[in-house]
């Protein structure tokens, strides 16, 4: 096994080395780094050309002082990067990703940019996985239903969206138009009717069942939407949204009940009791921690409380789970996480009016933060970041959603036809257990591979999205570097994204080897 891992690991470096040589040569020969200065008639243009040529080790017609062929420039760069493998700095040279054409330090820059890009890509990937897998399962369960066809259509639509265009459209409608609407947010009669009609049609499709049941669900949805939306409008929900005590209590209980029903079945009293205890604790903590959380100065406190909530939930599951410890823990942990998120949402809703007064147009089309917020309040700053994050995340998520949905669907359909599923059904195992325990788990195995590929692909897609949304991270580094024919920043991006792609494949390889001993040769 160790030999196998080492072999794979060595191959990883070979791939990266090959990629870096190739990219470096391509970047260096992609254009003229002095182009802007050559068209300049500035008295200092020649001096500036010399400065830049010295920085980049280029050759100039009137001085051969700074000439180095590209492979020597590559070698200089490579020795700097290799230095990063040696933290002591004793054996190899100092760790450095080189300098930009203006003499800036690329090492610091890539660290900063990678953090922002990863934030974007991680959240988009996570959401895409959750939503994609859920849609995929429902599609598979309702194969050849209208829902299945509609989802297939939508997924292929999203999948074939040019990401650049999708981003521009998202800015137009979800930022500019939304902000215009937020100036005086009211639901008109027709909006209410349209939303109600859409929900009336779609919700029964997801729930399925007999025709009578569908009609009943549809009618309920229509009445519900047609009463709640005007009510929200009347309450000025868009300006001052709150979940409120009622929603939190009801929501927590519903979550505990629903998760129990889904994962263990309501007849399992031990699990049900654990779930309800978690819900009660969650509601209690909502009131007890309100002032504490309002006073948060950074993410440290909410994150710590979140961790505490998970720990407590796990504990509740262990203590009250009895013979069904495993299932109980799953239910309590999931309820704990979801209730915490609900409470967090309420806190953000509470901050919304403050954000609106600091920033009357809540979604900006550019940048990861708003420069004119005029307040240091943690909640406002954090909500501002969220409102800036959601559009790029949405665009990136939509594009990769299709892969997960389609793979989950086909993988589910394949597994459901297997003998062991038929056996389980024949034994009288109920449908929930068949789907979740037997089919779903096995259907997830091939998906692990896709995550590795998709993640690397998304980082590439992020370059475009970041550019359109004016985010400053690896995308801008890459494009600006290429425009300046400046190899160091471009190479840093290539090395980073390439490294992640290779690393994820490496992990996938090892996982396979762990799962399937036949592969270890």
């Amino acid at each position: 096994m160790l030999k196998y891992i080492l072999k794979r690991f060595a191959r990883l470096f070979l791939v990266l080395f090959g990629a870096s040589v190739l990219s470096y040569a391509l970047i260096v020969h992609s254009g003229d780094p002095l182009e802007d200065l050559r068209e300049s008639t500035d008295a200092d243009a020649e001096f500036q050309m010399e400065t830049r040529a010295e920085q980049l080790n280029l050759m100039l017609p009137w001085t051969d002082q700074y000439y180095l062929p590209w492979y020597e420039r590559y070698w200089d760069w490579l020795t700097g990067v290799l230095g990063c493998l040696d933290p002591t700095g004793a054996i190899l040279s100092r760790c450095s990703f080189g300098e930009t054409v203006n003499g800036g330090d690329v090492t610091a820059q890539i660290a900063n940019a990678a953090e922002i890009s990863l934030r974007l890509v991680l959240i988009a990937t996570l959401l895409a996985i959750i939503i994609g897998v859920l849609t995929g399962i429902v599609s598979a369960m309702r194969q050849y239903s209208f829902f299945d066809f509609a989802m297939s259509f939508l997924m292929f639509l999203f999948w074939s969206l040019p990401i650049f265009w999708a981003a521009v459209i998202a800015k137009e409608y979800l930022a500019i138009e939304f902000n215009d609407w937020m100036a005086d947010p009211h639901f008109s009669q027709s909006t209410i009717l349209i939303v109600a009609a859409i929900l009336t049609v779609t919700v029964p499709m997801i729930f399925g069942g007999s025709a009578r049941r569908r009609v009943a669900i549809g009618a309920t949805m229509f009445v519900y939407t047609a009463t709640v939306m005007p009510l929200l409008d009347h309450m000025h929900f868009m300006e001052q949204p709150r979940l409120g005590t009622g929603f939190i209590i009801v929501g927590s209980v519903v979550l505990a009940l629903g998760l129990t029903a889904l994962l263990a079945g309501l007849q399992n009293r031990q699990v049900l009791i654990s779930g309800l205890i978690t819900a009660a604790l969650g509601v209690a903590s909502y009131f007890l921690t309100w002032d504490l959380i309002r006073g948060a100065q950074s993410y440290l406190l909410p994150v710590a409380l979140f961790a505490l909530a998970i720990a407590v939930s796990v504990l509740v599951g262990r203590v009250f789970g009895g013979y069904a410890k495993g299932q109980a823990t799953a239910v309590t942990t999931l309820s704990g996480i979801l209730i915490s998120l609900m409470i967090m949402l309420d806190h953000y809703m509470y901050t919304w009016p403050q954000l609106l007064s600091a920033k009357p147009r809540p979604v900006r089309t550019i940048g990861a933060t708003s420069p004119n917020l005029g307040t240091d309040d943690f909640w406002v700053v954090s909500l501002d970041q969220l409102s800036q994050l959601w559009l790029p995340t949405l665009v990136m998520m939509l594009v990769s959603l299709a892969t997960y949905t389609r793979y989950t669907r086909s993988s589910m359909l394949e597994v459901v036809q297997q003998d062991f599923i038929r056996t389980a059904r024949a034994k009288g195992v109920n449908e929930r257990t068949v789907v979740l325990k037997h089919a779903f788990r096995n259907a997830m195995i091939p998906l692990a591979t896709i995550v590795a590929f998709d993640f690397a692909g998304l980082i590439g897609g992020a370059i475009v999205v970041e550019r359109v949304f004016g985010w400053n991270s690896m995308g801008t580094m890459f494009v600006t570097g290429l425009e300046n024919v400046d190899p160091a920043p471009v190479m840093a991006v290539i090395l980073f994204t390439g490294g992640i792609a290779v690393l994820f494949n490496f992990i996938a390889d090892i996982l396979y080897a762990v799962l399937d001993p036949r592969i270890r040769v």
């Binding site: 500036q48 009131f287 403050q354 004119n372 307040t375």
Partner: protein, 635 residues
Amino acid sequence: MKLRKLSAATAMLASGALILTACTPGDDGNGGNGDGGNGDATETQNGENGGDAEAGVEEGTGGEFDQEGALYSTIPDSGAKAEMPEGFETNGDTIISSPGAVPFINVNNDEAGANSTGNSIVSDRMSSGFMYFGSDLSIVENEEFGSYEVLSEDPLTVEYTINEEAVWSDGTAITALDYQLGWAGQAYADTEESPGAGFNPSGSSLADYVPDGFQAEAPDAKTFTMELPEYYADWQLLVSGPGVPAHIVAQESDMSVDELSTAIQEGDLEALEPVAEVWNEGLGYAGEWDPEIALSSGPYQLAEWNWQGEESGGSVTLEPNPEWWGTPPGTETLIFQFVDESTHVQALENQDINVIEPQADEDVKLALDDLAETGDVVVHEGDIASWEHIDFQYQQGPFAETPELAEAFALCLPRQEIVEQLIQPVYEEAEVLNAREVLSFQEGYDDFVAESYDGRYDGADVEGAAEIIEANDAVGTTIDINHFGQPRRAAAVEIINTYCGAEGAGFDIQDAGDPAFSAELLEGNWSGVAMFAWAGSGQIVSGQNIYSSDGQQNATGYSNETVDEQWDVIAGNISDEERTQALIEMEQALWDDLHGIPLYTHPGVVAHDSSIANVRMTAAQTQVQWNAEQWQRAE
């Protein structure tokens, strides 16, 4: 069955939910939520207005220096900044603009790494100087800062006097030493020939033309003189702002102001080494800054620096400089956000950015015109100081073998058509450019053209061109049109092809667009013609480098005695009338010999929130932010 029970329970709970809302934490019972901090945020945003500053705003009439529909406190009547009316006060407001993606990186704008438009746009708001470029590329003396006069013509000696009131934002007077330090930054840089103290400047012309530096009676004098051993026609451009505060640099490098002064006078490289370190990156670099060190000599000072890496992004917030002695700036908070130009139009529509200067192409112009129709946005369009032209290569290729063909090419060149199809969609009033040293937006352009050019290449004379080609037995001669591969230039080649190509005058026109051509341009080893632009920098003598026989930017082997002679006259110490006369003679020779043909000046577009007054477009490289201190939102 269980599911149905579950949904029934859910429905019951859901209806109960609304009843229970009463005791929600944080609810103040008035139907509103939000903490006390709420009020503060509103204030900083929409704040109290500083007096009735927006009182006398007038609408522009669409004259030469203003734009119809735009608001002005004073309608500008020249390229200089308009004088703000009496009682012009700072308005408690925020205006955001974007100078493009390249961020502000160094408080010392004279450092090599800071050599970008983004840096100088921000830096210029935090400094003032003896002169600036007006919107028509004219040199404007800034009397608020100081004055200068020529003491002697030979050698040229200029005396600069800094305004008595001029101080840095910590209250310390701006003195001659600040200028001497700026000179030292260039003079004691490391070069190939000699080691220096480690200064890393973005230019060398000041040290080249003023080898002895500035002379002052004392380091803290308000007057200093500059002596140029050799006459330099662009001497006015050598000195403007005070650069960085010498007293802060001295303090940061652990020496007294006098010691610094002595070290500069004596050229003591060892003593200057720590100074160079502070000068290069020690005054505020890459987001690391200290309000007591990053001082301002202009209307604004640094308030916030949101640094997000060098390639792009982040923002800089400026606030009024409390020690500023001149006309107060128009707006309390000026924000520069560094984002790519492709995002500007939507950002303007969403009011994320209030003043933009995007890439001037047809799509952008159409999108902006749509926005302008709502009345919320005003669009300015005009010329910028960058001019497109075609140069003939006389060292090799078809024009070396048969120079007469240059005449044929010039005759069939559809200049009017190129302007109509490519430039007028962006800037309707764009015209064919008929001069090289005076651009169409500059003063006296019409008279200059009337005297230097007789209109011989105005109409695309395909037949005339064909005759010459046939007479030289050159039908089908391949003419490479070299350019850097931009779409607009490729489109121009197509238009040229319909007139001069096989269907027209009879050349074989080849589009040789290639980004790599830029590296070969000045080496001169190409053939045919080159189509590119010179970015004008407002200098008088920059053309000498291009047109004289041994000029460094002369890449076509062009040589003409009259041109060489006239350039020596132009670069000499003469009056403006004499200089114009010499320029006319020089241009005539360039037309006669067909060095090349000017095509058009590049168009520019500026758009802004229509409620902001005093936004003006400029042809100079200082961009629309050149008078940002005058911007003010009118109610």
